[in-house]
């Protein structure tokens, strides 16, 4: 039941993986908070390749929320 569902979406993630993920997400959100519109790709480049999938999912969630707050249309192609 608790086995890893896929490489990108485990039921459980070790602290050493959470640290870069959470840190990148925190910086990404801080940019939004400061009125900027951060670039997803820039952040993805900052983590190891095995964390890019999970980071992308996290960033997209934050991105969509802030775009909704700022009334910026979400670009599906992006």
């Amino acid at each position: 039941m608790n086995r890893v569902a896929s490489d990108d979406a485990p039921d459980w993630r070790p602290a050493r993986e959470w640290e870069p993920l959470d840190s990148a997400c925190g910086r990404f959100e801080q940019e939004w908070r400061e009125g900027k519109q951060p670039d997803l790709a820039t952040y993805l480049e900052q983590v190891a390749s095995n964390l890019r999938g999970p980071l992308l999912r996290e960033l997209v969630g934050i991105d969509l929320e802030w775009k909704a707050i700022r009334k910026i249309p979400a670009d599906v192609a992006e």
Partner: protein, 205 residues
């Protein structure tokens, strides 16, 4: 200290949520201890007692501010009420997890400590009575100190505190001026950190 508890109850019943935090601080560890002590038959797992205690207090605070407990007057009646709620919550948890285990469904919810605990053979029978012994409370304090110490990031601690105090994820997001996605991510991070430390993820990890 009985007077303090009585005052906190009055505040809460008057809709003043300022009474919630001291009550939470006082009773959370006592409840965890009681729930944990009563869950026998399997090696102790910290999150189970905490799950129940957190739900009990969240339920109590919600209902107390809605004036659902007009007869609640003092520390003794509060403790008995909390134990009654705890007993019901524990039984409900056992039933829920029994269903999940049989159905193979993952437990999903807002509970930060939610996990997939095997509960077969557990004997839940919370008894009404006096507060736990000082020894039990001391060992519980040690456990909780370890739990908070494992969360070095003050933001993670704040999220956990708000969650345990019964805030919804959305309320936490507003309180902390961040996105809901961030609250949910950090709750998952907390769960994983606690799991890593306390080993509550289950046999299949």
């Amino acid at each position: 200290m009985t007077g303090s508890v009585t005052n906190w109850i009055r505040l809460l019943q008057a809709g003043d949520t300022g009474g919630a935090q001291p009550l939470f601080n006082r009773y959370f560890e006592l409840l965890v201890s009681r729930c944990q002590a009563q869950m026998s038959g399997k090696p102790p797992r910290a999150a189970d007692g905490e799950d129940v205690a957190q739900q009990v207090l969240a339920s109590f605070f919600r209902q107390a501010t809605e004036k659902r407990y007009p007869d609640l007057k003092d520390r003794d009646s509060l403790w008995k009420l909390l134990l009654t709620i705890a007993s019901n919550k524990a039984k409900s948890l056992i039933k829920q997890e029994g269903r999940d285990k049989r159905g193979g469904n993952k437990v999903v919810g807002e509970n930060v400590l939610a996990g997939s605990h095997s509960v077969e053979g557990w004997n839940i029978d919370l008894e009404m009575g006096d507060e736990p012994t000082p020894e039990t409370v001391a060992s519980l304090n040690e456990l909780l100190q370890g739990l908070y110490a494992s969360l070095e990031d003050p933001q993670l601690r704040q999220i956990l505190e708000l969650k345990l105090a019964g805030y919804t994820n959305l309320e936490i997001a507003k309180e902390m001026n961040c996105s809901l996605a961030t609250v949910e991510r950090r709750l998952r991070r907390i769960r994983d950190l606690l799991t890593e430390r306390w080993g509550t993820l289950g046999e299949n990890r």
